[in-house]
């Protein structure tokens, strides 16, 4: 059980970093602006998932699976709280991700609008041809 848990977790981490690599390739190497923006959203989503994953403190340990960050008892004792702090998923990364998603939404929208405008003005979204500013 423990090995499987660790294995799955490692797969998750590995695929996240693999995803970072793919999306960076997409942003830096694909010629089309639209594809660049798609890669950018993949990139920021990967970053967000990474942040969420970080919130699962001590997940690979099988004896203490993480619990939702909600205190169920109405009047918790100190022991309850200590246990809760050890077990619960860290809510802060989720808050960070929420902020990052909102910001990412704004940036993506803006970039899509600009791409549309580029397409209107240049007739293409290929960055090799959108290169009037040089030197």
């Amino acid at each position: 059980m423990s090995e499987l848990n660790t294995f799955l977790f490692n797969i998750l981490l590995f695929s996240l970093f693999f995803n970072v690599g793919i999306s960076l390739y997409g942003i830096f190497a694909r010629p089309s602006l639209i594809k660049k923006i798609i890669a950018l959203t993949i990139f920021s989503d990967t970053a967000n998932v990474l942040a969420i994953a970080v919130g699962y403190r001590g997940w690979p340990s099988p004896s203490q699976p993480p619990i939702p960050p909600v205190i169920t008892t109405t009047e918790p004792s100190i022991d309850d709280l200590t246990w809760f702090a050890r077990q619960a998923v860290d809510p802060l990364p989720q808050a960070l991700v929420l902020t990052a998603i909102v910001i990412g939404l704004a940036v993506t929208l803006f970039l899509v609008f600009l791409t549309l405008q580029v397409y209107r003005l240049y007739g293409t979204t290929d960055v090799r041809r959108v290169a009037r500013l040089r030197g």
């Binding site: 977790f9 970072v20 960076l24 942003i27 602006l33 660049k36 923006i37 950018l40 990139f43 920021s44 970053a47 990474l50 942040a51 970080v54 403190r57 001590g58 997940w59 690979p60 340990s61 860290d90 802060l92 990364p93 960070l96 902020t99 990052a100 910001i103 990412g104 704004a106 940036v107 993506t108 803006f110 970039l111 600009l114 791409t115 405008q117 580029v118 003005l121 240049y122 959108v130 290169a131 009037r132 500013l133 030197g135």
Partner: protein, 532 residues
């Protein structure tokens, strides 16, 4: 004791900025928006000056938002260095906002323009004031989105849109990389508060309080986090090889915005680099070995961007593009000054260390004043030359308006670093620190950079001052001229008051980067709240 003014400035300014589009639906008189934006940025200037004065009087000040103590809540923390940069930002932004009233005098979109301009100011002030690494990310994004939008403000101009998308796309990558860096920091240290981080990185104490376990590899996480955030910061400050967007983006923005971008926005990246490498991952921390390597990289990159900026200046045909390349060159020099802290070059607290950092900040200030002066002058020159930005078509307009010509010459002398202008004294400090540190080669390269940049400035002076007129001269109104006058006097003052200014800066740098200063940053920003 914490002051409300430390915390209130940024949120209230955001409010003032976001009300503007709504007001734009009701009020149709453009003059109102000019007055409103100027009043808002005057308010920012007054509060920033007040904050600076209390920091100088009483030392480091922090403000916890919503009464949540750090490291749980977001806090703003002001020490001497960042309150000074904030004051510089607020004052130059005030002049730029005033200038905008002339520049966009009959633009219909004025409310949106001012929203973005105030958003830019909020973002910069937030980045500078913040004592929280995640809040730095948010504020960086606020600043960047305003900047992208301002670059693409003329949305029907192909070049502007192209510059904006180039800037925006890679800018988004840079901030996301910084976010990933933050994830690593949070995973290994369990905190994002800068004061708390400083303590944990320096003493390596208490980092397993919140986190630990799987992500406990603090050294690896620190290294990756530092690498990723440094990439983002050097992108924001346009250091080689992350400088490509700048010469496209800065010229295509409306001219006051170019002044803000070139004079102030790049400073934010430099400031963030300083905060990360001298406060959080400070010379006394457990990761000082990594820090030395990274500072060597910044030294090489600083010199490279200084050289490339200067070389590219010599072949520009566009007045604003020339100035944009000069920005790259000068930010490179500032970064060279910041790199003195590597333990291979100098020991913390030694003469060379303090000289280099003082020189870096002095140069930052001089460059901000000189570059915004030159960009605003370029705006008037372009207007007087009939809207062309091409050097060949300027037709010596500056000569026919002596004040304009004087402003141009003063700006160039400031940036070339000629005594008695401020630019000389900061370059003197940079030269002296590297000679003192036993690396005279760096001084020679700084000299080479200055000599090469002479080519670009000669080009600028020749085109704007000495060519013969091609068309009727259009006289600009009094407002921009007065602003140019104020900035020119400021350039002179940074030179004439250099005995006082360098003394102050030296004190600030010593207070911020010494062991006691770092301890104090932690105490004031973290521990003091727990003692209450």
């Amino acid at each position: 004791m914490y002051y409300l003014s430390v915390g209130v400035l940024v949120p209230s300014l955001i409010g003032l900025a976001f009300v503007l589009p709504l007001l734009g639906m009701i009020i149709k008189n453009i003059k109102f928006f000019h007055a409103y934006a100027s009043a808002a940025s005057l308010y920012a200037l007054v509060v920033a000056a007040y904050n600076f004065s209390i920091v100088v009087k009483e030392g480091v000040k922090a403000y916890p938002f919503g009464g949540w103590w750090p490291p749980i809540g977001i806090s703003y923390e002001l020490d001497e260095v960042n309150s000074l940069i904030a004051l510089l930002t607020a004052s130059v932004m005030f002049l730029i906002t005033l200038y905008s009233a002339w520049y966009i005098r009959d633009l219909k979109d004025a409310p949106y323009y001012y929203t973005l301009l105030l958003g830019l100011e909020v973002g910069m002030l937030g980045c500078i004031y913040t004592g929280d690494a995640f809040n730095l990310f948010v504020m960086l994004e606020v600043m960047s989105i305003s900047a992208y939008a301002l670059v693409g403000f003329y949305r029907n101009k192909p070049e502007a849109v192209e510059a904006a998308i180039k800037y925006g796309l890679f800018g988004a990558v840079a901030t996301t990389l910084y976010f990933i860096g933050l994830v690593f920091i949070y995973a290994s240290f369990g905190t994002l508060n800068m004061a708390d981080l400083t303590n944990k990185v320096t003493l390596f104490w208490g980092y397993d309080l919140v986190s630990g376990y799987y992500y406990g590899q603090v050294y690896a996480a620190t290294a990756i986090a530092l690498a990723l955030s440094l990439w983002a910061f050097t992108f924001k400050s346009a250091v080689f090889p992350n400088h490509f967007w700048l010469p496209d983006a800065h010229p295509e923005a409306p001219t006051p915005v170019s002044a803000a971008l070139s004079g102030l926005v790049v400073n934010v990246g430099v400031y963030a680099t300083f905060r990360f490498l001298y406060t959080i991952f400070n010379p006394f921390s457990a990761v000082s070995g990594l820090r030395d390597l990274i500072l060597l990289v910044t030294l090489v990159l600083g010199l490279a961007s200084g050289l490339i900026g200067a070389l590219m200046m010599a072949v520009q045909d566009d007045i604003k593009r020339l100035l944009a390349y000069s920005t790259i060159s000068h930010i490179g020099l500032v970064l060279v000054g910041l790199s003195i802290g590597s333990s291979l070059l100098s020991k913390p607290g030694s003469q060379a260390f303090v000289d280099g950092l003082t020189g870096a900040f002095y140069h930052l200030i001089n460059h901000s004043l000189g570059k915004s002066l030159l960009f605003l002058t370029a705006g008037v020159i372009i207007y007087a030359a009939g809207g062309t930005r091409r050097l060949d078509e300027l037709g010596g307009v500056a000569r026919r308006n002596p004040l304009l010509g004087a402003a141009l010459i003063i700006g160039v002398l400031q940036l070339l670093g000629i005594p008695p202008f401020g630019g000389f004294f900061s370059k003197y400090l940079l030269y002296a620190s590297y000679l003192e540190a036993g690396a005279p080669y760096i001084s020679v390269i700084i000299n080479v950079i200055s000599a090469i940049s002479l080519l670009g400035y000669v080009r600028l002076l020749y085109a704007a001052l000495f060519t013969t007129p091609k068309r009727e001269f259009v006289r600009a109104s009094a407002l921009p001229t007065i602003i140019l006058l104020i900035l020119s006097v400021a350039c002179l003052i940074t030179g004439i008051l250099s005995p006082i200014m360098s003394e102050w800066l030296r004190r600030f740098v010593e207070a911020t980067t010494s062991r006691d200063g770092i301890l104090n940053y932690w105490l004031q920003g973290y521990l003091i709240f727990w003692g209450r």
